[in-house]
């Protein structure tokens, strides 16, 4: 580690010092020292140092570049008068920007342009290595920086910024100038880059860069994903998980065997790897925006950015170490075991006498990988899979203490950075994994948690293997609405979509030759003139033989029947809400005090009253698309074994209007009276109902077989799998259960009681007989009538078309052909049948 421990560590990986000395600071510099001397001294004392104006964004960019290389520069923020001193303290700086200025190993590199130029030419990293400030030689293979073989010029600024983008914000997925625009736009400095030509950009922005003093750089770089409000309509994830799997690959993982799925013994390593393989296959469908890295530790080979021993980051080409999943990654990981010993190899990492601590290294690598993305917007996790409960068991004495301490410290550091470390221990029947030896401290378990840890961990393994392929959605409100309660009282509510039908993901049309995406272009063509029209603002309805036109504005005015968002109209007993009062899935509403304080209190009061009095509220929801009468049903919170099953709030049920309800019951009303069941029959039915009881039925315990088979197909196609994963249709009835004697008996009794003894045959006869008889009669008639015609002659003379459709059908029916279609179709069918 470099020698800056103890300074305030910046979130973006830099150290900031104040030049103005303070008495409390350990860095306090003698007052008598002149500014020039101080600057000079700082330059010599610090391997990498940046002098900048306060809150300079160029400095920020430089710092980010350094931190992406694992370097933490010292940053000195200078006052205006000190900047003069800086320029005085260095000769030959003439003409170039004075601040910010970077010094590496005492030598002036220059400003942002100079630094980036150096990096582009590939000289920066060696230079850093030379001054020994780079902790570990960074391999630049991860960053896709262009490396031109020429001296960088000023005009490379544009390109270099583009180069920074991948490091800074690859996930923004914006091209560089767009990003750049946002960056400047965000700080109110009215720079707008009209062209993607880097040269123009430089001309436009460089003179003004100097003026960017009063901006908060952290604010400038705020993630665009912070703005969840941005896409209310799209269901895209705004937040994601960054997960690093750390898999122990020590020989112990391979030695110990445990019963696998098919009762054959499998190594722990196999269990761990196949479990991850399963889980990533689910993850790519459930949460495609998550980023995953898989690291093995205790390996023979090493492959990681920090070049630490015993840690191997598994990856495929065209993918960062920590990145979203790709089919290729999953596919190759499926096969990782085959080549594992050859390519990666396993060895004990922590052995007496060696200073190598592979667990420590692994945590470090994982933490470095997770540096990406802000802790606010991403959930960062390390999942540790091992069967070694005592990693430092083989060493003794001070070394052990020291190693334990540094490893725990490393874990704690990671946790302080907002990374959760989870342990998935693998134990075998004859050797229980003992968490309390070492890992309890590492993951911070104590008391009850410790006791419950092992059983819970078992369940988690189970869960990872049996996860459902299900698209996860981030909690996001659909809309914020105001709820008008009587007398002008207006409270604020948030609405959420808790239940919505999930459909297979959207279809992207591709060109089947190139497999490149296509975009659909819609053009509107005037039916009268054939001219292409722009999206017209008028719509029309033919009414009384006239075209009545409406403008879009008029139509939306018609739909605006209510002034408020949601108006309370009154309350009714729950019995007034019938089972058929439903049109679409409800919205969930819960209160919010974000804008109007006191909303929650009113909402809770009403909520409690409604539950106690068994009433629901009737309100009018004036949405712009379909204003509708709604019922608000209060839902009490339901908690089961620590989890919230039903959240507290109200469900907004869309009520139908009178013309939406159809009087079907009356359709087949029979005035001679309808038969109704006798008490005996009802009793028999009751017995059956009692028998065939789904005791613990809960809604949504079935997965959608159509959706699951779709996901399975996509996976099979993506991974070139030969076989489709088997999909179990959980929705089929339990035939076996139904055949149980008790149920079968109840069924039989009810059946006989209603249908009588020999119903089946009788029913089939009457049911089919009627239709059959009619059809038979019709066919006979057709044959008879068809016989009057000389079909062959008619066909030869081309006279078929003179016959009516009805007459043509005689032939068709008599010859058992389909009778559907237009006349020409019928004629050609007849001709085909005749062989003409």
């Amino acid at each position: 580690m470099q020698g800056v421990h103890g300074y305030r560590l910046r979130s973006d990986g830099g150290v900031r010092l104040e030049l103005t000395p303070t008495t409390t600071s350990p860095l306090a510099i003698d007052i008598s020292e002149s500014t020039e001397m101080r600057i000079q001294r700082l330059i010599t004392e610090n391997p990498v140092i940046i002098f900048s104006r306060s809150a300079c964004c160029m400095c920020h960019v430089m710092r980010r570049l350094f931190s992406s290389l694992g370097v933490h520069p010292t940053v000195i923020e200078l006052e205006e008068d000190e900047i003069d001193a800086l320029s005085a303290s260095q000769d030959g700086g003439g003409g170039e920007t004075v601040a910010p200025a970077v010094f590496i190993g005492g030598a002036r590199v220059g400003g942002l342009e100079g630094l980036v130029g150096l990096h582009l030419s590939g000289h920066l990293v060696p230079m850093l290595v030379e001054v020994a400030s780079v902790v570990v030689a960074a391999k630049s293979e991860s960053s896709s920086l262009p490396k031109p073989n020429r001296q960088p010029s000023v005009s490379d600024l544009g390109k270099s910024l583009r180069a920074i983008v991948p490091i800074e914000s690859r996930r923004h997925n914006l091209n560089w100038w767009c990003w750049f625009h946002m960056w400047f736009h965000g700080c109110n400095c009215n720079i707008f880059i009209k062209t993607s030509n880097p040269t123009t950009c430089r001309l436009n922005c460089v003179p003004r860069l100097k003026g960017l003093m009063d901006i908060d750089p952290d604010d400038v770089f705020r993630d665009d994903e912070d703005d969840a409000e941005n896409d209310l309509l799209q269901e895209r994830q705004s937040s994601k998980e960054l997960v690093v799997f750390l898999v122990d690959a020590s020989p112990k993982m391979f030695n110990i065997t445990c019963p696998g799925e098919d009762q054959e013994n499998a190594s722990h390593f196999h269990v761990a790897v196949s479990c991850i393989a399963q889980s990533v296959k689910v993850q790519i469908i459930n949460r495609p925006y998550d980023e995953i890295a898989i690291c093995f530790f205790n390996t023979r080979e090493k492959k990681n950015l920090q070049d630490l021993n015993g840690v191997y980051v598994f990856n495929v080409a065209e993918r960062e170490h920590l990145d979203s999943l790709t089919a290729r990654f999953i596919k190759e990981f499926d096969r990782v075991e085959e080549s594992f010993s050859k390519v990666i190899g396993s060895e004990y990492g922590i052995i007496p006498g060696s200073r190598d601590n592979s667990l420590y290294n692994a945590l470090w690598v994982a933490q470095a990988l997770l540096r990406k993305g802000s802790a606010k917007t991403a959930d960062k996790r390390i999942l540790l899979l091992t069967n070694e409960d005592d990693p430092f068991g083989s060493i003794k004495g001070v070394t052990k203490l020291d190693m334990t301490r540094t490893t725990l410290q490393r874990a704690k550091d990671a946790q302080d950075l907002g990374i959760t470390i989870e342990l998935l221990p693998l134990s075998s029947p004859n050797e229980e994994f003992n968490v309390s030896i070492f890992y309890a401290d590492l993951i911070g378990l104590d008391g009850d948690e410790l006791a419950q840890f092992m059983p819970l961990a078992g369940e988690r393994f189970e869960d990872m293997n049996k996860q459902l392929r299900k698209r996860m959605f981030m909690k996001r409100r659909v809309r914020r609405i105001s709820f008008m309660i009587a007398g002008g009282l207006l409270i604020e509510l948030n609405t959420y979509a808790l239940i919505r039908p999930t459909v297979p993901a959207k279809v992207t049309w591709l060109d089947s030759v190139t497999n490149l995406p296509l975009k659909a272009e819609r053009s509107l063509i005037c039916a009268d003139t054939g001219a292409i029209v722009k999206d017209p603002i008028k719509r029309f309805q033919t009414y009384k033989n006239e075209d009545i036109t409406f403008t879009i504005d008029e139509l939306s005015e018609i739909k605006r029947v209510s002034t408020g968002n949601l108006w309370l109209l009154g309350f009714k007993p729950l019995s007034c809400l019938k089972d058929y009062h439903n049109l679409k899935p409800p919205l969930f509403v819960c209160p919010s005090d974000e804008e109007v304080m006191g909303s929650t209190c009113i909402f809770i009061a009403l909520h409690r009253s409604m539950i106690r009095l068994k009433r629901f509220a009737v309100a009018f929801y004036g949405s712009s698309s379909r204003p509708q009468l709604v019922g608000l049903i209060a839902q009490e919170e339901i908690i089961d074994s620590g989890g919230q099953i039903e959240p507290p709030g109200m469900h907004m049920i869309y009520l139908p209007y009178s013309d939406d309800i159809r009087p079907i019951e009356e359709l087949h009303a029979d005035n001679s009276g309808v038969p109704s069941a006798t008490d005996d029959q009802i009793q028999k039915a009751a017995a059956l109902v009692k028998r065939v009881d789904l005791k613990d039925f809960s809604v949504c315990q079935f997965s959608n077989p159509a959706l699951q088979s779709h996901y399975a197909l996509v996976q099979a196609m993506a991974l070139d799998e030969d076989e489709m994963p088997e999909i179990v249709d959980e929705t089929l009835p339990d035939e076996e259960g139904m055949a149980r004697p008790g149920i079968a008996k109840a069924l039989e009794e009810f059946k006989i009681c209603v249908y009588g003894e020999n119903y089946d045959e009788e029913d089939e006869k009457t049911g089919q007989g009627k239709a059959g008889k009619k059809r038979k009669q019709f066919t006979e008639e057709a044959v008879n009538k068809g016989a009057y015609y000389d079909w062959g002659k008619l066909a030869d003379d081309g006279k078929l078309k003179d016959l009516t459709v009805q007459e043509l059908k005689y032939y068709l029916t008599a010859n058992k052909l389909t009778v559907a279609g237009k006349k020409e179709v019928l004629i050609s069918r007849i001709l085909t049948h005749m062989g003409k």
């Binding site: 009215n190 003179p207 003026g211 909690k475 105001s482 009587a486 808790l498 239940i499 919505r500 279809v507 060109d511 995406p517 975009k519 063509i525 005037c526 003139t529 029209v533 017209p536 029309f540 075209d547 108006w567 109209l569 009714k572 007034c576 019938k578 058929y580 439903n582 974000e594 109007v596 304080m597 009061a605 409604m610 204003p627 839902q635 919230q644 139908p656 209007y657 013309d659 939406d660 039915a685 009751a686 009692k690 039925f697 809604v699 949504c700 315990q701 079935f702 959608n704 159509a706 959706l707 088979s709 197909l713 996509v714 196609m717 489709m724 009835p733 079968a744 069924l747 249908y755 009588g756």
Partner: protein
């Protein structure tokens, strides 16, 4: 189309006691006819009013009697005139006899259609049935009704009775009459296909008449498989289905106005183009579907999709029964289906009846797995709830609601109310006030009609649309009509209920305090407001506005001031300041020069003031001062002294040293230009 043609006679009571609701009746009847004009143009409608002073019907002429019944419109195919007829119902003066009216209506239908359109003949009676009907010549009133009902059944007629009862007080005699009339009307529903609904409010009256006649179609006919050996024949229909806003066609105004046969329609044409090369159109057969898999898109041909598609067999199978409390109301996903036993299959009817009654008794529901059609690519899981009929002629049935699959549920976590801080929890008094409010703001008070029953609540948007459509057919420029008062009872709280419960509401208000969150910035709040009005576009327009603002490079004559301000504040190059000042100067000179009798002076002054402000901000005093002198000289040279006077009167001065350091003008000299006119020239 004509196959489903309906013949309808509207029998409307216009006697004095009905006058108060005749406007509503006119509305609902015209809506009915308008919808027929749009959706079923071949239906035929006749209109008969009773309770009128005059008498005009065939039966009077033929057999005598039947006084005070006027056939306003003999049965004819719906057209625009019919709408006018029902919109101008006469106000009667005499208590009408609804039974006589029914006979007249039947006579119209029989004469018009004879034996045709069986089952599609309908009489719709709207009355308050407040007055006693005449005693028949022979037999009792009941006998007469029975005879009529039989005749109706013979001719395949249906009768819908809408009985309006306002909630005013009535004396006992009236109540007796009402009871008798209700009894008589109920005879119809025993003998023939008839429905009688009682409504109390004008709003329900608007909803009581079915204005749209949709022929029901079964979703499924076949077995309800209780087990592999026990099946019940059922038919499944939709019980609720949203009546949508009519799909209006896009209007093209390209056709010349002289073209009488122009359709004005617009055809849609889709072309798929390569993203890389937008000029290349990819033919449909060269397209292939792609699905996302992580960051990639996986192409899957339709053949592959077909080959492995999930294809369940058409069937409706029982999975089991469960307690009704296990299925919460908010899991109902879609519109509702109804299961009825195969009509005419007595045993199926009994089986359904037995099951429904048993389930009702035990408070159980059934869980089903349904595949409605062969070849359908998905299955549906749903809940079957019993509906026990309380009428002899209507069989028991089930309602079916679709339930969500595991994939359809999003497990969001919400804070429990009990864990919220005490400040957010209501205290005992507040709770009491809330209890009172929930009790008192009652929409279904005992002994009265439940208001806003979905069955009787019309769709205010559709009512308004058809109203506007009718207005537009007469005056193409008609404005959108305001929402009808009776319809406002649906969208806003009923003032009657509110005023009656004023005390409770006031008390509720007193107990709770609401205030705006002070921490929230004004700007965010406004933004949020915009968003609640439901538009994503607001944001994009903002974005467009902001980009256009920074892009100002020249300025127009329309809003020179704002253009100038936008340009002078551009920070991407220092040149913009001088460009802006230069441009503004030209604009001002143009304005002054082209002014006719000083009509441009106010605008020029506005620009000049903006220029001055800009020059002060940018610390460019000389630019302004020199220009002011220049324009002064210019005016003198070109005989535009009136502008100088105008400026002097508006007190436009030089930029002084105190405002901008570079200025050479001292405070006292700021007005020098106008104090000593001509001194600079």
């Amino acid at each position: 189309m004509a196959r489903n043609k309906e013949g309808l006679v509207l029998l409307i009571d216009v006697s004095p006691s009905m006058h108060s609701v005749l406007p509503e009746i006119q509305k609902v009847c015209s809506l009915l006819i308008q919808k027929k004009l749009v959706y079923s143009k071949y239906d035929e409608v006749g209109v008969v009013v009773f309770g009128t002073e005059d008498t005009k019907n065939d039966l009077t002429k033929e057999v005598g009697g039947y006084e005070h019944i006027t056939v306003l419109q003999p049965i004819k195919v719906v057209d625009g005139d019919l709408v006018d007829v029902v919109q101008q119902l006469p106000r009667g003066t005499i208590p009408g006899d609804f039974m006589d009216a029914i006979v007249v209506g039947m006579d119209l239908l029989i004469k018009k259609f004879q034996e045709t359109i069986k089952g599609k003949k309908r009489i719709c009676l709207i009355t308050n049935a407040m007055y006693s009907i005449k005693d028949p010549y022979e037999g009792t009133k009941e006998d007469q009704v029975y005879t009529l009902a039989e005749q109706m059944a013979v001719h395949g007629m249906k009768i819908d009775c809408i009985i309006y009862r306002g909630n005013e007080k009535r004396d006992p005699h009236e109540n007796n009459v009402i009871a008798e009339n209700d009894m008589l009307l109920s005879i119809f529903s025993k003998k023939t296909k008839a429905k009688a609904v009682h409504v109390e409010s004008s709003t329900s009256l608007l909803g009581a008449l079915r204005t749209r006649n949709v022929t029901p179609v079964t979703t499924y006919r076949g077995d309800l498989e209780i087990s592999s050996t026990f099946k019940i024949k059922v038919w499944v229909y939709k019980k609720t289905a949203e009546e949508r806003f009519p799909t209006l066609k896009k209007y093209s105004d390209k056709a010349p106005s002289t073209d009488k046969f122009a359709t004005h329609e617009i055809k849609l044409d889709y072309e798929y183009k390569s993203v890389q090369d937008p000029t290349k159109v990819v033919p449909p057969e060269q397209r292939i579907k792609g699905y996302r898999y992580g960051p990639q898109v996986i192409p899957i041909s339709s053949a592959e999709l077909e080959a492995v598609k999930f294809r369940p067999e058409k069937s409706v199978k029982l999975l089991g029964f469960t307690n009704a409390s296990n299925i919460m109301r908010h899991y109902y996903m879609k519109d509702v289906n109804i299961f009825i036993a195969d009509p005419g299959n007595k045993k199926a009817t009994i089986a359904v009846s037995a099951l429904a009654r048993a389930m009702k008794e035990m408070n159980k529901v059934a869980i089903l797995r349904c595949v409605w059609r062969q070849g359908q690519a998905n299955v549906v899981i749903g809940v079957l709830t019993p509906k026990v009929s309380d009428k002899d002629n209507i069989a028991d049935s089930f309602y079916f609601n679709v339930l969500p699959f595991a994939e359809d549920v999003r497990e969001f976590q919400f804070p429990s109310f009990s864990s919220l801080p005490a400040s957010l929890q209501p205290n005992a008094e507040q709770q009491e006030a809330a209890d009172k409010l929930v009790m008192m703001l009652d929409l279904a008070p005992a002994g009265k009609e439940e208001s806003l029953r979905p069955e009787f609540t019309p769709n205010p948007v559709l009512e308004r649309f058809y109203h506007h459509l009718e207005l537009k057919s007469k005056h193409p420029d008609a404005a959108v009509p305001p929402l009808d008062e009776s319809l406002k009872r649906i969208t806003e709280p009923d003032p009657e209920v509110t005023s009656k419960n004023k005390l409770v509401i006031d008390e509720f208000r007193r107990h709770f305090e609401l205030k705006e969150n002070p921490k929230l910035k004004k700007s965010t709040r406004r933004l949020l407001r915009d968003k609640t009005s439901g538009s994503y576009e607001n944001q994009s327009t903002d974005l467009v506005a902001s980009t256009s603002e920074v892009k100002i490079e020249t300025f127009g004559d329309l809003i020179p001031v704002s253009d100038f301000e936008a340009m002078i504040s551009r920070r991407d190059s220092p040149e913009w300041v001088s460009k802006a000042i230069f441009g503004m100067k030209n604009t001002i000179l143009d304005l002054v020069e082209n002014s006719f009798e000083g009509d441009n002076y106010p605008k020029a002054l506005e620009c000049l003031i903006a220029l001055r402000r800009g020059c002060v901000i940018e610390q460019e005093p000389k630019q302004f001062n020199n220009f002011l002198s220049h324009i002064y000289r210019f005016c003198q040279e070109t005989n535009l002294l009136s502008f100088c006077e105008f400026l002097a009167s508006k007190d436009v001065t030089f930029v002084t040293k105190s405002e901008a350091e570079d200025s050479e003008i001292e405070e006292q000299d700021a007005r020098s230009l106008f104090v000593k006119p001509g001194s600079n020239s």
